[in-house]
């Protein structure tokens, strides 16, 4: 059996979900017999591959760049997993929603800056008005809540998805876990 191609993607999140993924420790070696990580902040590939079996997405959709990325990921992935509370529910990045992006940019780059007070407008992507979970943009196949989901959750869920075993998400994790 050829190995399943797995990608992991990092949108507006803290990378904690990726850290928790790595926390599977030596169990990753077992999984590596079944999967190939073909795209990830943890590997060197620069472009999202044409065909991916499982895409794990960390982070909410907060910028125009995130929106482009999540649509591309969806178009090239058989199974899309919302990994962690930011991807699932918006979580901490969405706490700016009641105030709007202008207010937080002002706070970060003007009020709290002692030198070079200016709001960046080139290179960095434009922020969306509202931070939203990824399922508001694309179809999500599996939701894995948690901040972050534990290494055990990752291991159990990924093993089930790769081997086709039954998966009961609510038995493993919850919002804020």
């Amino acid at each position: 059996m050829s190995k399943l191609k797995v990608a992991t993607v990092w949108l507006d999140g803290c990378s904690g979900c990726h850290m928790s993924f790595l926390d599977m420790d030596e169990r990753i070696l077992e999984l590596a017999k079944l999967i190939d990580v073909v795209y990830s902040p943890l590997v060197d590939a620069k472009d999202f591959p044409d065909e991916v079996d499982i895409a794990l997405v960390e982070g909410a959709v907060a910028s125009e760049d995130d929106e482009k990325k999540i649509k591309k990921v969806r178009a090239h992935s058989k199974l899309l997993i919302a990994m962690g509370d930011c991807a699932v529910a918006g979580n901490v990045p969405s706490m700016r929603n009641p105030f709007g992006p202008e207010a937080i940019l002002e706070r970060a780059y003007i009020e709290n800056a002692s030198v070079q007070q200016q709001i960046p407008c080139v290179v960095v992507p434009k922020l969306l008005k509202i931070v939203r979970p990824i399922h508001e943009f694309v179809t999500v196949d599996v939701f894995l809540p948690g901040c972050p989901p534990s290494a055990d959750t990752f291991h159990t869920a990924l093993t089930a998805l790769v081997t086709g075993a039954p998966l009961d998400i609510s038995a493993l994790t919850r919002f804020g876990a």
Binding site: P98, I169, G176
Partner: protein
């Protein structure tokens, strides 16, 4: 024995149970270890049937009944765990999450929250409705407690415990529908209100909406078990 104390027989989830006339479906279910999820209901306070999580099906009618306020009657057949009810319960929980800003990961009640626990129990893994993201206040004017309206689900437990048990009736609900909020006195700051500082409202609050300032992080379990005992002791006097 008066007429109202008569024994009734009914069926809940296929199980034949006996009950006293005047009891609610929820009371009888719990006496028989049949689990019905609840959120606004709390042992020791009057029931208001606000959250609708405890809805049950009754044979012979397509209407659903809130089991915390619906009385039993002879021969009734109740179903508490059907696919129709499970779907309604999930939607109710999703509506509660979408309505205000419940960010579990940074909540003082993370791990001790009834809303969070119910979401997990009922299999809610995401909110399919768009979030409303309302701008809501946090009132930290009280020397001991804080009210964070972002996390309030309007169960009115605080209103009821303050009026029924403490007898102060500092808490009440202002506004209508989606604009409703709980207030102290006539929408005065909590710290400047006629609050007696007893803290009962904090202990019965199911989420992180009311919390004790001396608790940090998510180390804030609540202890509402005092209520039935307090009622029992008062009745004994």
């Amino acid at each position: 024995m008066s007429e109202s104390m008569g024994v009734k027989t009914l069926i809940i989830d296929g199980q034949e149970v006996s009950a006293r006339s005047g009891q609610t479906i929820l009371e009888v279910a719990r006496e028989n270890d049949i689990k019905i999820p609840t959120l606004c209901h709390i042992e020791g306070l009057g029931a208001v049937g606000a959250c609708r999580l405890c809805l049950v099906e009754v044979k012979g009618t397509s209407k659903l009944f809130p089991s915390c306020v619906a009385n039993i009657h002879e021969g009734m057949e109740v179903l508490t765990d059907t696919e129709r009810l499970r779907k309604h319960r999930r939607v109710i929980l999703e509506l509660l999450f979408a309505e205000r800003n419940h960010i579990c990961s940074v909540c003082v009640s993370n791990g001790h929250c009834e809303l969070q626990a119910l979401a997990q129990e009922q299999g809610v893994t995401h909110i399919s409705l768009p979030y409303r993201n309302p701008a809501l206040a946090v009132d930290a004017s009280h020397e001991r407690f804080t009210v964070d309206h972002n996390r309030c689900i309007l169960c009115t437990r605080c209103v009821r415990v303050c009026a029924e048990i403490e007898g102060a009736h500092v808490w009440d609900v202002m506004g209508r529908g989606i604009d409703s909020i709980v207030i102290t006195d006539l929408h005065d700051e909590w710290g400047a209100s006629s609050c007696t500082r007893c803290g009962k409202c904090v202990q019965v609050c199911p989420t992180g909406a009311l919390f004790d300032k001396s608790k940090i992080g998510s180390d804030h379990p609540k202890y509402p078990d005092f209520l039935p005992y307090l009622n029992l002791m008062r009745e004994a006097q």
